[in-house]
């Protein structure tokens, strides 16, 4: 029914976006696979051996930080999201949306000064008598600092996902639970959580992936020496060592760790189109 000319005009509308994405994402994406197996113009696994040799600890460190942040976020988001579902509170909801709108680098810097030995956190804790400022603990340039910053930045995302899932649960289920005499926390744990377990799993996967790929926060908060997160290692390999092979191998490993999210998105497309 549609004429050939309209068809061609229609297709032309797709060209710019698809071209940009193919050239600047898809092609580089596959290039990183190829590059990871190239050593001095030969094929080989040398890059992976180098990465394993240098960064095995760092990869585990990345996993540990991502999992720790994820765990904190899930607990936070389920409990706060649950309470907000049971009792609407627009103030809190709005408050916890703020981190989403603060740029990563700003979060990185804010955490540097907030968590520094004489930063605002220690000042407040000292005022409460919890910390001795003569010998203040420093959280800024440590694993804990990174976990706090990543958690803080992802608060909104985790909460939004959870609220979305909880809101789709009908009020009557909650009322039934109250009616049986359950308290709020019990309702959250035994009604809301099981009914939203699919959505919780999806948020977990997405949050985990974004943690693995996080770069700006770790580079601003990482310790000068000691373990680094994978993306920071990758950046240093490029900038200081100019070793694209090793960087790509590290990249491919990060892709593999992100497979969960990739699978989720693929399934989303297939269900979308059915």
């Amino acid at each position: 029914m549609t004429s050939v000319r309209t068809r061609i005009a229609g297709m032309a509308l797709f060209v710019p976006a698809i071209f940009i994405l193919s050239v600047l994402f898809v092609y580089p994406f596959f290039r990183s696979f190829i590059g990871s197996f190239r050593v001095n113009n030969h094929w080989g696994l040398q890059n992976y051996l180098t990465v394993m040799d240098l960064y095995k600890g760092d990869i585990l460190y990345t996993l540990a930080i991502s999992l720790a942040s994820l765990l904190i976020l899930l607990i936070f988001a389920i409990i706060l999201g649950g309470f907000l579902r049971l009792k609407q509170n627009t103030v809190l909801e709005f408050l916890f949306k703020i981190p989403l709108f603060i740029p990563f680098v700003v979060v990185g810097h804010a955490m540097r000064v907030f968590l520094a030995p004489h930063g605002t956190l220690n000042a407040v804790l000292a005022a409460l008598g919890l910390v001795n400022l003569q010998n203040p603990p420093s959280l800024a340039f440590s694993a804990t600092g990174i976990v706090i910053a990543l958690t803080w930045k992802n608060l909104s995302f985790a909460l939004l996902m959870m609220m979305g899932a909880f809101r789709s649960i009908d009020d009557s289920y909650i009322e039934a639970s109250y009616n049986m005499g359950a308290k709020s926390l019990r309702t959250i744990v035994s009604v809301l959580m099981p009914m939203a377990k699919g959505a919780i799993a999806v948020s977990a996967v997405l949050i985990f992936t974004s943690m693995i790929g996080s770069f700006s926060i770790p580079i601003m908060l990482g310790a000068g020496n000691g373990p680094q997160m994978a993306m920071v290692d990758l950046y240093y390999q490029i900038v200081y060592q100019n070793n694209y092979g090793a960087a790509n191998a590290l990249g491919v490993i990060s892709y593999l760790l992100s497979m969960g999210a990739a699978i989720y998105y693929l399934r989303m497309v297939t269900t979308h189109e059915r």
């Binding site: 709108f101 804010a110 999210a261």
Partner: protein
């Protein structure tokens, strides 16, 4: 539980939430005003706007203008490339539609840095590293993806009967798009462009790789000053950088559906 305890707990809850959210932000506010702040003082010895005056008169203004310029350009290009395309994706049978949608998901699913380092190699070849077009292009990658997903769902949320009613009374497909679909999609398009604008304004990873050393947007400027321990300058830059996002949050809170937000703020 008695009423007093309840009130106290409620108060404590709010206090905690406010501290969690504003604690980190307050630190940079404090630093931006600190004219003199030496160890081991808990608060700056001298507060003032000295650094604000100094910074706002300096080359930060150049970065600010550059950032806005890039963000506006990226937003306009993104709208141009994605509004008609998203409409077609939402409404018509397109060959290889699944493949196209998958293409627009990849950047969401995988870490950006390793891909962008490879994109950098390509852009080097074309002499685009360290140039405006290079930075705009790398911003477009994320912006396009974000925009397509938002807009496809915006167009899908318009009842198809509205368009059928127009076709039924004799409107051509082009006319239906401009007189029915587009006007009804305006709120969604505005939301999408604001978020794309913010994305470009805040973009760090791609700009660091592709823009350096000549294109210093606000996030890069902030990063450099922070790493160079220019505490006050970094703090002021950070605050300026935060402002558009917060403004956006306050202004269009009610328009932003959480489904649009869910894909935002990653990277």
């Amino acid at each position: 539980m008695n009423a007093k305890l309840k009130l106290f707990l409620k108060f404590l809850g709010y206090a905690c939430a406010i501290f969690v959210i504003f604690g980190p932000i307050s630190s940079i506010v404090l630093w931006s005003l600190a004219q003199k702040w030496y160890w081991p003082h808990l608060f700056p010895q001298e507060l003032g706007l000295f650094y604000w005056q100094k910074v706002l008169g300096g080359n930060i203004m150049h970065s600010l203008a550059l950032s806005f310029y890039i963000a506006i350009l990226v937003t306009l290009l993104t709208l141009l490339f994605t509004v008609p395309m998203s409409y077609l994706l939402a409404r018509y049978k397109i060959p290889a539609k699944g493949l196209i949608l998958t293409l627009f998901l990849l950047p969401q699913a995988f870490p950006q840095l390793p891909v962008f380092t490879n994109a950098m190699v390509l852009l080097y070849r074309w002499d685009l590293v360290g140039t405006m077009p290079g930075v705009v292009l790398i911003h477009l990658v994320g912006a396009l993806v974000y925009s397509v997903w938002t807009l496809v769902s915006v167009f899908r949320s318009i009842p198809i009967a509205l368009e059928e009613a127009a076709i039924n009374v004799g409107a051509s497909k082009l006319r239906v798009f401009f007189t029915i679909a587009l006007p009804n999609a305006i709120p969604g398009i505005i939301a999408a462009s604001l978020l794309v604008f913010l994305y470009s304004l805040d973009e760090f990873t791609g700009t660091l790789l592709i823009g350096s050393p000549f294109i210093t947007t606000m996030p890069i400027y902030m990063y450099k000053t922070a790493m160079g321990y220019e505490m006050q300058v970094a703090a002021i830059t950070a605050l300026l950088l935060m402002l558009p996002g917060l403004l956006l949050l306050f202004l269009i809170e009610k328009y932003l559906k959480s489904q649009y937000l869910a894909t935002f703020g990653r990277g």
